[in-house]
Every structure is written in structure tokens, then in C-alpha cells.
């Protein structure tokens, strides 16, 4: 039976991610979804989800603080091509470097940096918080059925700016373009919270759980 591991590195709200993935796994017959911070569970996973909230350096330190966990994720995703979904900070970890507080290296799977959102209209508040509509510019199996105009729930003050525009799959308008989805090959990352985004979010989770690249 297929196993999806939601990586627990003691960052943020795992419960809602776990429940949304379990619900969609049950609906799609996609097997088991567990929460774990154990490298051996990541190693045997068929799919990996990296959620997370909080500051970039703290999240990276938390990942590194779990012995062998980061290596297990990198091995599974980069060497064995296991499908990977990063959510919020988990998505930002896919970039080369985070500039929050100080420069912190990410996984460097998607060339780019994580920088503060600076809306061109000073009246726009930061964090970018709430429902915004997606403008879909790329294609990916996980985005099947997701269209420009679909709403997603965002809450963040930093965004990923990619080097290769082809690796940015969707953005949202917020006093400029804010990266919403990045990805390539067997990996995808969403800045918004699919587990909190009702229909479109649950659809993406279902797509991810049934995706067999």
C-alpha cells in the first residue's frame, strides 16, 4: 500500500495538513498518510509532504535538528525521485537561499531566493493574508483541474523569486506578482495552504496523492 509521509519537524500546524491529506487519501484510495519525523519513515515513503510555518532560519534549524531527516528527504526526492510537495515554508525550503533575518541555505532544488514581499502600493498590508486568485502559467500533473481564477488561502510575508521563470507555475497579484506555485519534475511547492483552501486545495492534494510519475 502506498505511504505518504507528512514530515514532522515540530514546525507549525501539522494537524490540519494531516487531516486534509488523510481525508483525500480516503476519498481517492491513495493508501496511508502518516506524520513522522523519522528518517526511516521518509526513506520508505512513496510520497513526501513538507509543511511548515514560521521563520526560515528556525525551520531550517528544526529540520537539521532531526538527525538524518534532511538527508533522508534529499535522498528520497533528488536521488529516487519520490513525489514531493512543499507547503508554505516547506515550499520556500525548495529554493536556494532564504533571506529572512539572515541568509540561510535551502534545499536548492529550485534556483531562487526567498525575499520579503514589497507591494508596490504602500496601502497593501504585509503579511499577504487571505484568499487570492491564482494565475496559472505552467502545467504540472498536480495542477490538473486547477485554473486561473481559483482561490487559495495565503498567509506569508516572504515569497520565492525563481531564477528560471519556467519553474514558477502560478502567481497571485498583490501589488505585483507573488509566487504561488513552483515545481519541476517530481516536485511541487505551494506558497498558499492547500489544506485550508477548500475545493481547489483539496483537489491539488488529491492530485498529488494519486500522482505516479
Amino acid at each position: 500500500m502506498s505511504l505518504t509521509v507528512v514530515v514532522d519537524y515540530e514546525s507549525g500546524n501539522l494537524h490540519s495538513a494531516e487531516k486534509a491529506f488523510q481525508r483525500m487519501a480516503a476519498e481517492t484510495g491513495a493508501g496511508e498518510v502518516i506524520i513522522s519525523g523519522r528518517p526511516e519513515d521518509v526513506a520508505r515513503a512513496d510520497r513526501i509532504v513538507l509543511p511548515g510555518d514560521g521563520a526560515y532560519p528556525a525551520c531550517k534549524a528544526a529540520l537539521e535538528g532531526h538527525s538524518g531527516l534532511q538527508e533522508a528527504i534529499e535522498e528520497a526526492v533528488q536521488v529516487r525521485g519520490r513525489p514531493f510537495m512543499g507547503i508554505c515554508i516547506g515550499m520556500q525550503m525548495m529554493a536556494s537561499v532564504g533571506r529572512e533575518y539572515r541568509d540561510t541555505p535551502g534545499f536548492d532544488w529550485i534556483a531562487g531566493e526567498v525575499v520579503p514581499i514589497v507591494p508596490d502600493d504602500p496601502a497593501l498590508k504585509v503579511p499577504h493574508m487571505g484568499w487570492n486568485d491564482l494565475i496559472v502559467t505552467g502545467s504540472h500533473p498536480v495542477l490538473e483541474g486547477i485554473e486561473t481564477g481559483d482561490h487559495a488561502y495565503f498567509v506569508h510575508s516572504y515569497q520565492v523569486v525563481v531564477r528560471d521563470p519556467a519553474e514558477r507555475l502560478a502567481y497571485a497579484e498583490y501589488g505585483g506578482e507573488v509566487t504561488a506555485i513552483i515545481g519541476r519534475d517530481t516536485m511541487i511547492g505551494t506558497q498558499f495552504h492547500p489544506e485550508k483552501s477548500q475545493h481547489a486545495g483539496l483537489r491539488m492534494i488529491a492530485n498529488f496523492l494519486t500522482w505516479a510519475p
Binding site: 521563520a55 487571505g130 484568499w131
Partner: protein, 253 residues
């Protein structure tokens, strides 16, 4: 374009909805999870649970509530009431809350906001400010359900907690709360202009025009209401269509 959020708020006491939610199809109108599911289906943008009788003994019911809601509602959930420490924040986040709201604990010691934001990120730390007009253009923080004056200026306090890392302000006008006379717009505007984070306007909504004013005149990023939705005066959809007609971007699909 970012949409203006409409947030129904449920007052909860010992795990039950206090004011009741008057939807015809609810099996148990006193069960917050049933109410949450109804609002989820109705297109609410977020939900807020306020534990109005928070004591150490009844915390467990709130954790259980957060967990049961997160299992069934895939939308953002804020929980407030009796939150005092970063450990309280962690417990509520683990149970299923997405955002946690400080109130009197932040007034007593704003550093608790900083400690929580450093650990969990500003995005999940809300500070609820209950303010009363003390003279024209002057608002003071009140605690203990609006009974206890603190001598603290509301605008100064908003700036302080945002500097400490609050990611959002839930602003309730104690003059207006329960009156259905509309938001305190000068207060809402003053706080909204003073901070760079989103402000949720609360307290006093009686008509759909009040929701519009909170945004257009008050500058709020989101509007929170309880009774107009619970008692079925208006649906979430009606509220959104009214706001859309007034030119406010809302999420309708």
C-alpha cells in the same frame, strides 16, 4: 487580487455555542463543529472560535473542538480566549487552530507576543484589542469583557504589539459590540492606518452596509460578525454579494 474576508465568530462556553446558530438544517445548533461545517459550506472565508469562559480546567474541550473542526473544515480557524503563554499557542496549533488570538495576556505583558511570534511565526499570532472611546479621537484598551479600563491608548498598543510580531489585529469596539449600530469607524481607521498588518473589524454589525463601511471607511482587511449570521438575518453569500456590489473584492466561487 486579494479578497476581503468575511469571518463569522462563534462564542463558545464549555464546548458549546453560546448565542446559538439559527440555521434550519443544523442537527445540533449548540455544537460548534456543526456550526463550523455549515459556515464552511456557506463560503465563509475563515472561522473564529472565542472561548468566553476560558479556565484551565476547560482547556481540553477547546483542544478537542479545534481537532474535530480541523478534521472536517478545510478553511482557516482562529481560536481565542484565555490564551496566556507560548505553550497555550503551541497546544492550540497542534490541536488544529491555524491562528491563535491573545487578548488580556498581551495587555499585561506584550512580550508574550514576541516570544510566540519568534517560535511560531507572526502569521499565526493575532492580538485581539477591545477598545472604548474615552474622548473624541481617543480610545482606550479595556479588558475583562470591557469592564476593566487599563489607561492604555489603543492606537499606541496596536503599534506596540505589531512591533512585537503580531501578524493581525482583531479590533473590537466595546462601545458598539452587541448594539447593531455599526463598527466604530474612526477607531477602525485609526488602527488600520497605524499598523502594516491586516486589521479585522469587529463589534456592532447590524446591516450589510456596516460590513461595507468597515472596509471602505474603516480600512479593515476583514470583517467579523456573529449575530447577523447566527440568527439567519443574512447569509454569508448575501453579505458577499452586497460587498461585491459596493465594489469590494470578495471570494464568490
Amino acid at each position: 487580487m486579494l479578497k476581503t474576508r468575511i469571518i463569522p465568530c462563534l462564542d463558545v462556553k464549555e464546548g458549546r455555542v453560546v448565542k446559538g446558530v439559527n440555521f434550519v438544517d443544523l442537527v445540533d445548533a449548540g455544537d460548534p463543529v456543526e456550526a463550523a461545517k455549515a459556515y464552511d459550506a456557506a463560503g465563509a472565508d475563515e472561522l473564529c472560535f472565542l472561548d468566553i469562559n476560558a479556565t484551565h480546567e476547560n482547556r481540553g474541550t477547546m483542544y478537542d473542538l479545534a481537532t474535530r473542526t480541523a478534521e472536517q473544515c478545510f478553511m482557516p480557524l482562529t481560536i481565542g480566549g484565555g490564551v496566556r503563554t507560548p505553550e497555550d499557542v503551541r497546544a492550540l496549533l497542534l490541536a488544529g487552530a491555524d491562528k491563535v488570538s491573545f487578548n488580556s495576556a498581551a495587555v499585561a505583558n506584550p512580550d508574550v507576543v514576541a516570544k510566540s511570534a519568534e517560535r511560531f511565526g507572526s502569521q499565526c499570532i493575532v492580538v485581539a484589542i477591545d477598545a472604548k472611546t474615552v474622548s473624541p479621537g481617543k480610545w482606550e484598551i479595556f479588558t475583562h469583557g470591557g469592564r476593566k479600563p487599563t489607561g492604555i491608548d489603543a492606537v499606541d498598543f496596536a503599534r506596540t504589539v505589531v512591533a512585537k510580531g503580531a501578524g493581525e489585529i482583531l479590533l473590537t469596539s466595546m462601545d458598539r459590540d452587541g448594539t447593531r449600530a455599526g463598527f466604530n469607524l474612526p477607531l477602525t481607521r485609526a488602527i488600520s492606518d497605524a499598523v502594516h498588518v491586516p486589521v479585522i473589524a469587529s463589534g456592532g454589525v447590524g446591516t450589510l452596509d456596516h460590513l461595507v463601511e468597515g472596509v471602505t471607511e474603516g480600512g479593515a482587511s476583514a470583517v467579523l460578525a456573529a449575530s447577523i449570521f447566527h440568527f439567519g438575518d443574512f447569509t454569508i453569500r448575501e453579505a458577499k454579494e452586497h460587498m461585491a456590489a459596493a465594489g469590494i473584492p470578495v471570494r464568490l466561487n
